[in-house]
């Protein structure tokens, strides 16, 4: 995806729409987000218009919701078979930013969604992403917020769980975060490491960035090139899957070592050469951040 102009960092003023708000997962996560302070103004489930979830009005269609509310971002909990239509609804309605949590969307559909977002000039985060959280401000995702706290480190990760794990260790060590952003397990991404690095570089509150990657694909190599040419802030990188055998899928659809560039070693080497600090454990990330003085 080209470097978009759509900012993805959120705060308490971000007006949010939840797609699939009446579902089991959608309603549960809506309650948690709302309790956290996220400014959720509307929900959509076709056929459930007129209902309310947690006091939030539900509409049949996204176009109805945008007619009644100012909406800056949407988060989708719509099941995979219907995810493409739902995403197109958001993008066509002119909502600039869509978080696609759904797992298992057919790859052809993902390609269509990402392409349509390029055409409309909107940004998609995901799919298969936990979304993002700006600790202490707002949450547009499913992160376990008790593990995170407000601070000066930006985290960008392919894996949701790995970002929770690293966030928890950082928080325990007294190091807070500006935003924790999950880009999803791939193999097709609406927003990449590189896009998020660019946001963190621009964000005045972010003093350092933690980049979490894994085997498969070339995103971390692209990130390395971006770090070399554009990042002035320190980046601490950790790539997991150093012992992953070639050809085996390691949990995420995109996490398959195919060719030299997909290995953890080649990514670590590229990031190091680009000037990033590299770590092999979350505790080592803490040590490096403390040495940098964040």
């Amino acid at each position: 995806m080209e470097e978009g102009n759509v900012a993805i960092l959120i705060d308490e003023n971000t007006h949010i729409l939840v797609q699939g708000i009446t579902g089991t997962v959608g309603s549960f996560q809506t309650r948690i987000m709302k309790e956290y302070g996220s400014n959720i103004v509307a929900g959509v489930t076709p056929g459930k218009g007129g209902q309310a979830v947690e006091g939030i009005p539900v509409y049949n269609l996204v176009v109805e919701a945008v007619r009644k509310h100012k909406i800056d971002a949407a988060i989708s909990f719509v099941p995979a078979p219907f995810a493409k239509n739902a995403a197109f609804e958001v993008l066509a309605a002119g909502i600039p930013f869509l978080v696609l949590t759904t797992e298992g969307i057919p790859e052809n559909d993902i390609i269509d969604i990402v392409r349509f977002a390029e055409l409309t000039g909107n940004r998609v985060l995901g799919p298969d992403t936990p979304g993002l959280i700006s600790p202490g401000k707002s949450k547009l995702g499913v992160h376990p917020q008790q593990m995170l706290k407000e601070g000066a480190v930006g985290i960008v990760s392919k894996s949701g769980s790995l970002s929770y794990e690293v966030g928890r260790v950082l928080t325990d060590a007294g190091i807070g975060q500006t935003s924790v952003v999950g880009i999803g397990g791939g193999p097709v991404w609406g927003t990449t490491h590189e896009d998020v690095l660019s946001e963190f570089e621009k964000d005045p509150e972010t003093k350092a960035v933690v980049l979490l990657g894994e085997v498969g694909g070339k995103l971390e190599h692209h990130a390395a090139r971006f770090i070399r040419s554009h990042m002035t802030k320190p980046v601490v990188a950790m790539i997991v899957g150093r012992s992953a055998p070639e050809g085996a899928q390691m949990g995420h659809a995109g996490a398959i070592v195919e060719g030299e560039e997909g290995t953890a070693d080649s990514k670590i080497k590229a990031l190091k050469a680009a000037g990033a600090y590299t770590a092999t454990t979350s505790h080592e990330i803490v040590k490096i951040l403390q040495q940098i003085g964040v």
Binding site: V142, G160, R168
Partner: protein, 84 residues
């Protein structure tokens, strides 16, 4: 669990769970259901934290499993159970 335990060299089992979208109470109920139906021949150590973890830990404690929040601590425990 069946696949992992089919390997006779496995002496200790570590389950690491960190819940975001996944609710830990639901996962704990799954582990509970399995352990009620099956004999687990090796000691089980669980790392559990995140969404609904408090409820999950309570469910696991009925099997004498004290889930810890820290992965490294739990990993050490699992290695200890494995006799190394």
């Amino acid at each position: 669990m069946e696949i992992v335990l089919s390997n006779p060299n496995v002496k200790s089992l570590l389950i690491s769970l960190i819940g975001g979208l996944t609710r830990m109470d639901q996962v704990a109920e799954g582990i509970d259901t399995y352990l009620k139906k099956n004999d687990c021949r090796v000691p089980v150590s669980v790392r559990m934290c995140g969404t609904k973890a408090k409820e999950g830990v309570r469910i696991l404690s009925s099997h004498g499993i004290a889930a810890k929040a820290d992965l490294f601590e739990t990993a050490k425990l699992a290695v200890h159970y494995g006799g190394r």
